[in-house]
Structures are given as structure tokens and as C-alpha cells.
Symmetry: C2
Subunit: 584 residues, 2 copies
């Protein structure tokens, strides 16, 4: 089979204006950026306010191997499959970070014959939204260090006399806003800034700091959760960047930088319209992580797509314990709109990996044996799929299992898996289809599309796990126990103290975002399958007042990846004709 970029380059694409027109977007609602991508103005929602909404299909997965199970391929493939059976459909996905593109994972445009095109535009820069988030985030950081410096240099009284601004009295030991960069750069995880030549102070105050990858910025979560430009502006102003010497929160509004941050992001709030290889209109918007953030593309993009088409296919990051849980408890509650159907992507290799019989490690290739026929492993791993189906059922949503077929998969094994699914008892509508979207595009996802149409005929009875009005600790317990099936939650003394602090500061009604490993339903990445009776240890809480959640760190979560020994960037170049080569 051809490489992804070659498949993409050999496909005749449709001018984006035609894609937009077919989707029902009017010319004045579109800002083309070249011929194959265009910004869509959120003002379209006013025009379509009275129109009925389509069905929202959220693609999730079993507990993934470190390589992923093909959620984006299935999302794009399913959208193409729905188009093949003449349904009006749009897809909504996140914008890929350049970090993984240059690092290990490669692009995130789907793959094979189920891609968003042109993949080199999607994977690099696109329409600059991630750069805008980086710039706005780092502007706040520069504003903070500059304020710290000038207040210290002049003294609080003179600072106020000179500027007419109140002294913020920021506690240098209580700053919670790092800097960001859209690269995998481990050397920036822990740094010291504001250093000076001996005897000088012109570079500001020395302190510990660090960079996260841009996807981990609270601004990225805000972009994905904001309802409109005005809401984004307000949320940005609520961001707490530090605490003052009395322990009171210092916000970007206090720094008088929230307006400029919103200005920096005012084009980023418009989703970008692209197309799949088969011409299905696709909105690309935002790219929040699925651990320290909610891991779903934007509310604005979903809303636009739901007004324009009968089916909207989107995805949540990692397994259903991660992105899908957050789609239901964070995104859906803020958007006031839950999913109508969940698609759980499973692979034979992924289920076997969940048997616990294979030794899998992040950053390493999967063992070849995992592709051999192994009924015992498949049967053992099935528990994990069952767990994820039941998890979606918790939220009152019908489920379709999409078996993402790999070339090595045998018919016998595929049949065994289908039989197991069909024979199991569930509390919601459950169906299953094999997807060959990677190799065959929409044609390979027709069966899946038909199952999804059928599932959407079952009225979803969407219910989040908790209400925002419940106390923070209750919401944490609910996600861990009702959500994961844990038997206990253990808050560290630090987390307990932070909990009390956030409640006292009026943040009790924020949502809870669990930052845990995606490689297990529990918080221990080595525990595969469908564990029970485990404890969820919560080390630390972090406030994201602008995004509207508090994230709970369960173990270590890496917010700045590193480059491997032989990174993906080494194969990228420009050929004699000026084309990009080596992108996957």
C-alpha cells in the first residue's frame, strides 16, 4: 500500500468553497486560506439558530496500546461510510500537535484511505491556531514575570505611583502558569529563568519554571470549551496564573493581559473546514490533551456541524475512561448537549494486549506475536471491551463496536470476537461491525455506518455521572468509583489541602478532570483488562478556572514529551520539485 502522504497527494481534492457550499455554509461565513482549507465564522450559528440538530456520534476506544487503536481512521472512515450510504455528515477532529509529528507518533490526520486532506497542511501549522495559543499563553507568562520584576525593582508603592496600577504582590514561590511550546523538548521541562550576570538584575527575578507542550495549555482547553468569542474572552480572564503573598488568586485579568490574549486568539476561535479524501466536510478545531484536559475537539465545531448535517462524527482521546468520560462529564455539561451514540474502536491486537499476556512498553514496537492467532488472549482481553461498552452504557448512550481490521487479522478471530459481543448482555443497545476504513476508505466502513444509523434510531438517554453543583470531593469519588470501578480514592495531604483551598475560593462547582494514565482503566499502566477493587491515588489538584475544571493528578502525567533517539523529523525533507517528503 502507498504511504499516507502519497495516497493524499494522488487524490483529487475538491475546492474548499465547493465543500463549504455542499455543507450549507454561505460564502460570507467562510474565510478561505488557500483552496483547501477555510475558517468558518461562528456567526453561522445565528443564521441556523432555528434549525434542528443532527446526531452526535462520539468515537472512543478500548484501553489502547501505546500505538493507539485507530480512532481517527475510524472517525474519518465512518464519516465517509455514512456519506457512501447517502447520509448528510460532517466530521469534527482536533488539530494535531507538531510535537508528535516531528517526534514518534507521526501525524494525526487519520491514515490510509481515511484521512483528512491535505495531510501535510493538517499536520503542520494548519491555519495557525496552535501558534496563536502558544503566543497568547507565553504573553501571559511574560506579563507575569515583567510585573514581578517591576514591582520588585521599584517597590510596591513606587510601582503604583509610577503606573497607577495596584501592586499585585505576586508570591514568587506560588506561580502556577508555565510557558508552552509546540515541540517535544524534554530539556525545557524543568528550567530556571530570570538569571543574571553577577551583580546585575536586568533579566528579572530568578525562579524555577518549565515549558509544557502547547496542547497542555489551559488556553487550549478554553478554546475547545468556549461557546463564542465573548465567552472565550471571559474565560481567559478567569485564568489563575499565581497567588499573591496573602494566598489570593492572581488572574490574567489582574495582569491586564486577558484582552490581549483574546485578541491573539480571536481567529483561532473559528474552526477550520477541510475535507476527507472522499470529500466529507471536516471541521478541525483545538487540540487539548485527554489527561490534564478533556481531550475532545471544540464545542463550537460540534455545534456548527450539528446544525449543518444529520450526523456528526467526532472523537475523544484515548479509551472511554478518558476522552469519552470527559466528553460526557465536562464537554457535554458545558455545551448542554450529550452524545447520541458511542462508537468503541477495538482491535484484535489491542484486546490481546489487554489480556496481560504480552509485555508492551511505550516507545517500543509491539511484539510480532500479538498478530498471531491466539484465542485465549482474545477471550481474556474481551473483558476490557466489555468494560468500555458498559462504561458508555452508564451514560445512557447506545454503542457500536467498530473492529478496526488489520491485514494480519484472521476471519476466525474476528468471528470469535463478534460472537462474544453478540452473546454478552448489556443495558444499552449494542451492535458490532468490522471496519476496513484504513485500506478501503468509506467503502470499508459501510457496515459500520449502517450500524451507527440504526443505533441513532434508539433514543439516547444521556445522563452525566455527576452534577456540577455537587461538592468537588463527591465529583472525584463519582468518577473514580462509578466511572472507573475503583473501590477507594486516596487524596494526598497536598491534594486535601488544595481541595479545601479551592472550595474556600469559590471553585466548588467546577468539573473534575482526571489526569491519569490512558494505558489502564486504573491509575497503574501495567494493570490491563478490566480491573476492580483498585485505589485511585490523587497526588495533586490543579485549578483551570478559565476552562472550568480542576484536574486531579493520579500519578505522573507527562506534559512535555521528549524526542526519541531517531525522531520522525529525520525523514522529512523537500524534494527537487518542492514537495514535502517523509511525512506519515
Amino acid at each position: 500500500m502507498k504511504s499516507d502522504i502519497d495516497i493524499c497527494r494522488d487524490t483529487r481534492l475538491t475546492p474548499i468553497e465547493h465543500i463549504a457550499e455542499q455543507a450549507g455554509i454561505q460564502q460570507q461565513e467562510l474565510t478561505p486560506q488557500g483552496t483547501l482549507k477555510a475558517k468558518v465564522k461562528p456567526a453561522i450559528l445565528k443564521r441556523l439558530a432555528e434549525k434542528a440538530e443532527g446526531k452526535l456520534v462520539v468515537v472512543t476506544a478500548i484501553t489502547p496500546t501505546p500505538l493507539g487503536e485507530g480512532k481517527t481512521v475510524t472517525t474519518i472512515g465512518l464519516a465517509q461510510g455514512l456519506a457512501k450510504i447517502n447520509r448528510s455528515v460532517m466530521a469534527c477532529i482536533r488539530q494535531p500537535s507538531m510535537g508528535p509529528v516531528f517526534g514518534v507518533k507521526g501525524g494525526a490526520a487519520g491514515g490510509g484511505y481515511s484521512q483528512v486532506a491535505p495531510m501535510e497542511k493538517l499536520n503542520l501549522h494548519l491555519t495557525g491556531d496552535i501558534h496563536a495559543v502558544t503566543a497568547a499563553h507565553n504573553l501571559a507568562a511574560a506579563a507575569l514575570d515583567a510585573r514581578l520584576y517591576h514591582e520588585s525593582r521599584l517597590g510596591y508603592d513606587e510601582f503604583t505611583a509610577k503606573t497607577g496600577l495596584p501592586a499585585l504582590r505576586i508570591d514568587i514561590n506560588n506561580i502556577c502558569w508555565k510557558r508552552v511550546m509546540d515541540h517535544n523538548d524534554r530539556a525545557l521541562r524543568m528550567i530556571t529563568i530570570g538569571q543574571n550576570e553577577p551583580g546585575k538584575t536586568i533579566n528579572g527575578l530568578e525562579r524555577h519554571d518549565g515549558f509544557d507542550i502547547t496542547a497542555a495549555s489551559e488556553l487550549m482547553a478554553i478554546l475547545a470549551l468556549a461557546d463564542n468569542l465573548h465567552d472565550m474572552r471571559q474565560r481567559i480572564g478567569h485564568i489563575v496564573v499565581a497567588y499573591d503573598l496573602d494566598g489570593k488568586p492572581v488572574t490574567t485579568e489582574d495582569l491586564k493581559v486577558a484582552g490581549a490574549m483574546a485578541v491573539t486568539m480571536c481567529e483561532a476561535i473559528e474552526p477550520t473546514l477541510m475535507q476527507t479524501l472522499e470529500g466529507v466536510p471536516t471541521l478541525i478545531h483545538a487540540g487539548p490533551f485527554a489527561n490534564i484536559a478533556h481531550g475532545n475537539s471544540s464545542i463550537i465545531a460540534d455545534k456548527i456541524a450539528l446544525k449543518l448535517s444529520d450526523f456528526v462524527v467526532t472523537e475523544g482521546g484515548f479509551g472511554s475512561d478518558m476522552g469519552f468520560e470527559k466528553a460526557c462529564n465536562i464537554k457535554a455539561q458545558q455545551a448542554n448537549r450529550g452524545p447520541d451514540c458511542a462508537v468503541v474502536v477495538a482491535t484484535l491486537r489491542g484486546l490481546k494486549a489487554n489480556s496481560g499476556l504480552y509485555d508492551l512498553r511505550p516507545g517500543q514496537a509491539l511484539p510480532a506475536a500479538i498478530f498471531d492467532e491466539d484465542n485465549a488472549a482474545l477471550i481474556a482481553g474481551f473483558d476490557n471491551l466489555k468494560w468500555h461498552i458498559n462504561n458508555a452504557a452508564h451514560y445512557g448512550v447506545p454503542v457500536v463496536v467498530a473492529i478496526n481490521r488489520f491485514p494480519q487479522d484472521t476471519d476466525a478471530e474476528l468471528e470469535l470476537l463478534q460472537t462474544m459481543i453478540n452473546n454478552a448482555a448489556f443495558t444499552t443497545h449494542v451492535d458490532v461491525a468490522i471496519s476496513e476504513a484504513f485500506g478501503k476508505g468509506g467503502e470499508g466502513a459501510i457496515a459500520l455506518a449502517e450500524c451507527v444509523v440504526k443505533a441513532c434510531q434508539h433514543q439516547a438517554n444521556f445522563t452525566p455521572l455527576y452534577q456540577l453543583s455537587q461538592p468537588l470531593e463527591e465529583k472525584i469519588m463519582t468518577v473514580a468509583e462509578a466511572g472507573y470501578g475503583a473501590s477507594h480514592v486516596e487524596l494526598s495531604p497536598l491534594a486535601q489541602q488544595q481541595l479545601a483551598q479551592f472550595k474556600a475560593q469559590g471553585y466548588d462547582d467546577l468539573a473534575i478532570c482526571m489526569a491519569k494514565t490512558p494505558l489502564s482503566i486504573s491509575t497503574d499502566p501495567s494493570i490491563k483488562g478490566a480491573p476492580t477493587g483498585f485505589t485511585v491515588p490523587i497526588r495533586e489538584l490543579k485549578l483551570c478556572a478559565g476552562a472550568g475544571f480542576i484536574y486531579a493528578l493520579c500519578g505522573n502525567v507527562m506534559t512535555m514529551p521528549g524526542l526519541p533517539e531517531k525522531p520522525a523529523f529525520m525523514s522529512l525533507d523537500i524534494d527537487e520539485s518542492g514537495n514535502i517528503i517523509g511525512l506519515s
Copy 2:
């Protein structure tokens, strides 16, 4: 008078496709980014290869006050003036950095009725070129630290065994590639990276580092000097990022990251077409500093504009000792194309400032008295203007002095200045006109435009100060002595040692880029007027092998600005209708 952004917003702009069509750019050579900006494909140069070139007018200035003398206003105004007298004309300017926009100086789109529009697009993001430079630059930095880490972690032999790549043996104490960010962030000037929790090493190797503002990146100079995409790719590969343990240069090609950097910048190489408030087509491209780099917009943009119009108006940063010298000795030699006319912008306040009778300090407002009538100061300051006229004459180029009129300027003073110019003897054609481009747009620059047309009828006899084939030390002497009028050059022991090293490494034929203060013709910012008999001390040399020059640090040059107590960002916001407010 209205604010810049209000003037801009109240002007009816022409769709960029029409601007392009009028300029002679065909549809397939244009990639519109919305309706008011578009990328222009350098492939246009192939179609127009046989077409004759227009006249290249380079706008420069007297030794500026820290506020600048209005070069961009004059550049845009002159282009509009030429259009008013029915000349075919384009302007070429640099892309503004967001650092000054959020910091002190404000935007760089011109001002008043001589602006590039829409100014909020030009000043923020534009088409993402600066972000692309930032991303490509920091990718190389991440690649370097990752290589350092993995080679150290595995040992050289195991690294090679595992990856098949040679060990680069980078000397951690001899790294010359910092990181960059497009913000004024003094806290990042001197930092320590690669720090770890006690007993761990997963964040790489600890070392000193720092961030420059993106305009200071060698990649920005490369973007401005590259002839085409292929040339840019080759230049990127020549960048020296560090030295190995034997003192041999380590390039981005050695890191196998040059291809990915070029991929990251492959859209940035296309200039962006915009328009002035009066509809003159303007190419925006690159934004190198005028001290540690050559401070002019791109060769590609100039070449395209010269093929499309009879007059091309561009500008070099700071006074004629800085941007114009570099336009002649660096840019013109690489482009094989010198200017046909120099416009020297002078202001009454700037000449009085050059009298040495006023106490001016960067970051502080000019004293009000400088706008009062003061013939003595004007006469004393005239020496500086004379120096800059003669400097342009050195290069064999006719000169037009543009007196950028301020509302407070009296007719008597303006007349005195014109008389002094007309009565002085010069070795080149010299003319003078008053420009009221700020308040009156092109109408206010008709007299200037007529002078420029006349000057361009005088055949320029362009000659750079030195040939690239001369030895490095000779080129340094030539710029300091023949260029500035210095009597001596003093190389520090470090600079002498570096000179020997660069010669030994085969870099003797690179150009010389003087990194000195713009606030004096000498290297001491407090010496105003037209100093003679001074010494140019050279502290350090820095190799920019990809850009094709070595820059010589004469004193301290700040490559990362800081934010003031009350930065410009504080007035920026989004109003109820979603419009940007507070940008100037």
C-alpha cells in the same frame, strides 16, 4: 486625528484578488488567506524572467531617536505618492514582530493615512511566517538537546549501534544555537535548561541557555536572503548550531533536522500580498533585526515586485549606517542587485536630537522642548543628515531627503533645513521634499514622489564597499572606516581568536554584519551628530553560515527585549461587536 486602527477600519479596502490582478499577479500564483491577504508563489519569477525590472528605492534615515523617524510611514506614503502621479509601484516591507506590538513601540504598519491594511492582520500573526520561523528554530534546538542527551545516556558507541547514526560528540560548553520566542520576555534571556529532580536524568543534560526574540533568529535572516525554496533548504543545512569535542562545527544537516526545518518554513518563503490604505500592492516578507542581522525585507519580495512594477519602495532598519549599509553590502551582493535611489528620512526633532543639546533616553518620551523652534539645534544637527546623504553617495546612489513633517514643525524651520540641504555640496544627485504622508496619505507625498522619479532618471552607479572575496578583517575595517568614518577598529582577544577560527574553517568569504547601536554612527549611543576619529571595539564575532554573514558585536546588543511597567498590551481588548480595540 483618528487613531491608526480607526483610520484603517474606516477605509474601504479592495479584495486582494483585485489588487493582485492589477499588480499583474495571475490567479494560480496567488493563495488568498481571507479576502485581504494572499501568499504569492515565487514561481511567478519564472513566468516573468524576461521582463525588465523597475527601479529599487530604499528608504533609510538619519540617526534615529528611540521613537524612530517615520521610515515606514514614508515608505508607504511614497508608494502612495507614486501611485497618485500614475506610476506603477509596489512597496516591500518587513513583517512586524508581536514583541513590540505588545511591548512599547506598537505596530509597524506605518501610521495615519500611510498604513498597510488591515493593520491588525499585519501586526498579529499575518500569515504565520514568524510562527514558522519560531517553530523551525526551536525544532533545531530540541533536536540538539535530544541528541546531546541520547548520546550521553547511551554512550557514543551504543548510540551508533542502536540508531545507525554517527555520534556527533557535541561539546556541551560550545553550543551557539539558542531558542526563540516572538515576545519581549526578559526572564528568558539567561536560563538554565535540562534540570532534573534529584537523582533523575530524564530531562536531559543541564546547561545554560537563553531565548532571543524570533526576529533575531538566523532563520529570519535566511528567509530574507534566500533566492528560492531550494536555496533556503541549502542555507538551513549550513547553520552551525554547536561545535564538537574537536572544535569542528556541527550543523543542522549533521542533526538531520535541516529538512524538517525547511518543511516547517516552506510556506513562509512565499511573500504576503496586502495593500496600503490607498490600494497600493505591498509585499510583506521576513523581519530580520538591523543589528545582528541585515534588517531588510526579503530578496524574493523585491525580485517579484521589481518584475511587476516600475518602482519598488522598500526600507532598511534604523539609520543609513545600519539597514542601508547592509542593504548595499549584504543584501545587494547576495541578490546581485543594488538600489537605484536612497530616500533619507529626516525630522526636525530628529536633527535637533542629533545636535547633542537634548537629553534623550530609550524608553522615555522625547522632551517637549524639542518641538519648539530652535535654529541653533537644527543647524548643529544638520551634520548628521549630511553624513547620511554622503553615506548613500558612497554607494553611488542618488539621494532624496524626505522631511517627515510633524504638526508642530514651523515653516521657517522647514525652510531653513531645505536651504541647508540645497546649499551643501554632494558627490551625488541630492534633492529634498517635505512629506506629509502621515496626515494626508499619498497626496502628502506627491512632491516626494516627483523627486524620487527625477532621482531615478540619474543612472545609479551602485558599488558596495567591499567584495566578499576580501579577507574578513579587511571587510570589518572597511565598514568601520570607509563606512562609519572610524579611525580604528579594536578586536578583543576573543574576536581575534574567532576570526582565526572562522578563516580556518573556510568562512573567510562571508559578508560582515555590524551589530552596533543604531542611536549613533559610532558605537557609543551617547555620541550624536557626525562623529569622527572614534574607535570601533569588536567584542565578539558570531557565525551565521546559513545567512552568509558573520556578525560583529560592537558593545552590547539586546536580542531579547523586555516589557515595560505598563506595556502596550494593557490597552488591547475585544469590544462587544468582536472588534479589536487599542492597537496602535
